[in-house]
């Protein structure tokens, strides 16, 4: 079968390039915008995703992991006594002020645990040992703090709420949605640093279930014994933390608008180039009809051209987007393009391009084949 659609498309290389460039631009826009959005959201729940906890006990109506509220730390004992709970520990997450050597003040989001290793927090340590945190006024700081705190070395001191702490290690990938640097400090030391607010209090209880324990029944029992707290599974808590930022800030809407505009640009470019191409080749379409072709044959040509533009444009858009990941990482941004997104964007690109082809088809379908006789 002679492929008139493909031959005609590549015959006019400039127009083909413009069409494909339009699709590639739209695809890149969608990948970058959605990828950055997913990267930001990933920060919002990255600790929850990596921690070994099956259940999280929070104070009532805590909106996300960063905006924590205190409750009595002894409630952890009630959790520990529930059958099916293998381990339960208090976790404090608390914003504090750090005095920098420059004289400036910056924020830090302190994580306080008695046994960090047991909960896989932090999960990527590049310098230092977690067990050393118990041995003095120490902290481990995530390397992302360089952006806010400036350069620091292991062995340096920083003053947290007036108390000198030595940096004894460095972690990686422990980020917060608010971009406040994360530091890991011994639980008791953290309470001493801010005694007025934290003595005798915690902000979370992490729960690890025993093998074979039923999540729902343990959760229900915790909720029964701690009526003034909330209990979430790991997935629920991660989703709640992410959803807070989507719903309460403009980034969700911003992302949807950008994706919509990206799609619109792609559709308009493809529709316009296919339409003008169809108008320029109107006599050819008339000839197809005159030699016995029907509207189905015409749509096959236009649809195939749109599909080819979609596939080539998608591949080019993806090839443009993937190298942006290390570039974004260098400026501290995560560009996440999961496989499922590849599938959705590919399907969306093809569907939108085929829809764009309908604009040209409507025009071509109505042409009078008698135009082939006109000179």
């Amino acid at each position: 079968m002679v492929d008139l659609a493909l031959k005609s498309l590549v015959h006019d290389r400039l127009r083909f390039f413009i069409t494909v460039a339009g699709v590639a631009f739209a695809v890149t826009l969608v990948f970058v915008q959605v990828g950055l959005f997913l990267g930001l959201l990933d920060n919002a729940s990255v600790t929850i995703d990596h921690a070994n906890a099956d259940l999280w006990v929070t104070s009532r109506n805590t909106p996300n992991i960063d905006f924590s509220h205190t409750f009595t730390e002894t409630r952890v004992d009630r959790v520990r006594s529930i059958p099916g709970v293998e381990r339960a520990d208090n976790l404090i997450i608390w914003f504090m002020q750090v005095n920098l050597p420059t004289g400036a003040q910056e924020g830090v989001e302190a994580y306080g645990l008695e046994d960090f290793s047991a909960w896989n927090i932090p999960w990527h340590l590049t310098d230092g040992t977690l067990d050393d945190l118990h041995r003095g006024d120490y902290m481990i700081v995530d390397q992302s703090a360089v952006k806010r705190w400036g350069p620091y070395q292991v062995g340096d001191y920083r003053e947290v709420l007036g108390r000198r702490l030595q940096i004894i290690g460095r972690s990686k990938e422990a980020l917060s949605f608010t971009t406040t640097p994360i530091a890991f400090i011994d639980y008791w030391l953290l309470q001493q640093i801010s005694p007025d607010l934290l003595r005798g209090s915690t902000t979370y209880v992490l729960v690890k279930l025993a093998a074979g324990a039923d999540t729902n029944s343990v959760r229900a029992e915790i909720a029964r014994r701690l009526p003034y707290n909330d209990v979430y599974t790991k997935a629920e808590w991660a989703e709640r933390s992410r959803h807070y930022w989507v719903a309460s800030t403009g980034i969700g809407l911003n992302m949807y608008i950008t994706v919509f505009l990206g799609c619109l640009v792609g559709v308009v470019v493809v529709a316009q180039t296919l339409y003008t191409s169809a108008m320029e080749h109107i006599r050819e379409f008339g000839t197809v009809k005159a030699i016995g072709g029907n509207n189905g044959d015409i749509y096959m040509i236009l649809g195939k051209q749109a599909a080819i533009a979609a596939v080539v444009g998608f591949v080019l858009g993806l090839l443009q987007s993937l190298p942006l990941r290390p570039v974004m990482a260098n400026i501290g941004l995560k560009l996440i393009i999961p496989n499922i997104m590849l599938g959705w964007v590919f399907a969306g690109t093809v569907v939108l391009c085929l829809t764009a082809a309908l604009v040209a088809f409507r025009k071509v379908a109505s042409i009078d084949p008698a135009l082939v006789f006109r000179t």
């Binding site: 002679v2 009809k289 016995g292 072709g293 084949p369 082939v372």
Partner: protein, 222 residues
């Protein structure tokens, strides 16, 4: 054996509130292997009549029978089917697909008519060899002369061996020498395949290749 018969064909077009009649009861029949030249001045209605014979337009009234099938009241979709099966066109402007080679132009028409694969390719090559373009199979239309383009158009029209060939001023864009060669070729091809051929023309040279000359003026046959 009559392959094409048009009886009392009337065609009028609406222009605003006015009905403008272009054809006033035109009748014509063509037998297999017969070559009919349709002559007339500009605006006489000959292209409209050719469009009706070619199932591109439907008449306002009258009957048209093609290869034994009455076609004057068929839907657009069914008319496309009749064009696919029974009619081959040759146009004044050739109307070749510029992105396809000579062979592909003929093969694509055969594909549209339902012939696929090697059969279509071989039939296309054979048709081009008949019109003496066996050495130009892979040439794009832009690399062919006007006469060669018209030969490709003829090959495209005859390749599927339709019972009826319709040609709209096939020599108008060619110099007289090439025009005569094309008509000679066209005539031989149609005669060999016993195809009824209707040629709309202004060219007096075409007349001598026709078995019969029909003149049309102001929408009436004379």
């Amino acid at each position: 054996m009559i392959t094409l018969a048009a009886t009392d064909v009337v065609k009028s077009f609406s222009e605003g509130r006015q009905e403008i009649a272009v054809l006033h009861g035109v009748s014509l029949s063509v037998e297999r292997g017969e070559i009919v030249a349709l002559e007339g001045p500009s605006g006489s209605g000959k292209t409209t009549f050719l469009s009706i014979l070619g199932c591109i337009l439907t008449p306002t009234s009258g009957t048209v029978i093609i290869d034994g099938q009455r076609v004057d009241q068929l839907s657009a979709g069914r008319l496309a089917g009749v064009r696919k099966r029974s009619i081959g066109f040759v146009f004044q402007q050739y109307n070749l697909f510029p992105s396809l080679t000579a062979r592909e132009n003929v093969e694509y028409a055969l594909n549209i008519k339902g012939m696929r694969g090697v059969a279509a390719r071989n039939a296309a090559i054979q048709a081009l060899e008949i019109v003496e373009l066996g050495d130009r199979l892979d040439f794009l239309p832009r690399d062919l002369s006007g006469g060669q383009k018209q030969r490709v158009a003829i090959a495209r029209a005859v390749a599927s061996r339709p019972p009826i060939l319709l040609a709209d001023e096939p020599t108008a864009n060619l110099d007289s020498q090439v025009g005569l060669q094309i008509m000679e070729l066209f005539r031989n091809t149609a005669k060999q395949a016993e195809q009824g051929l209707v040629i709309v023309t202004h060219d007096p040279n075409v007349r001598r290749f026709a078995d019969r000359v029909v003149r049309i003026r102001d929408g009436r046959l004379q």
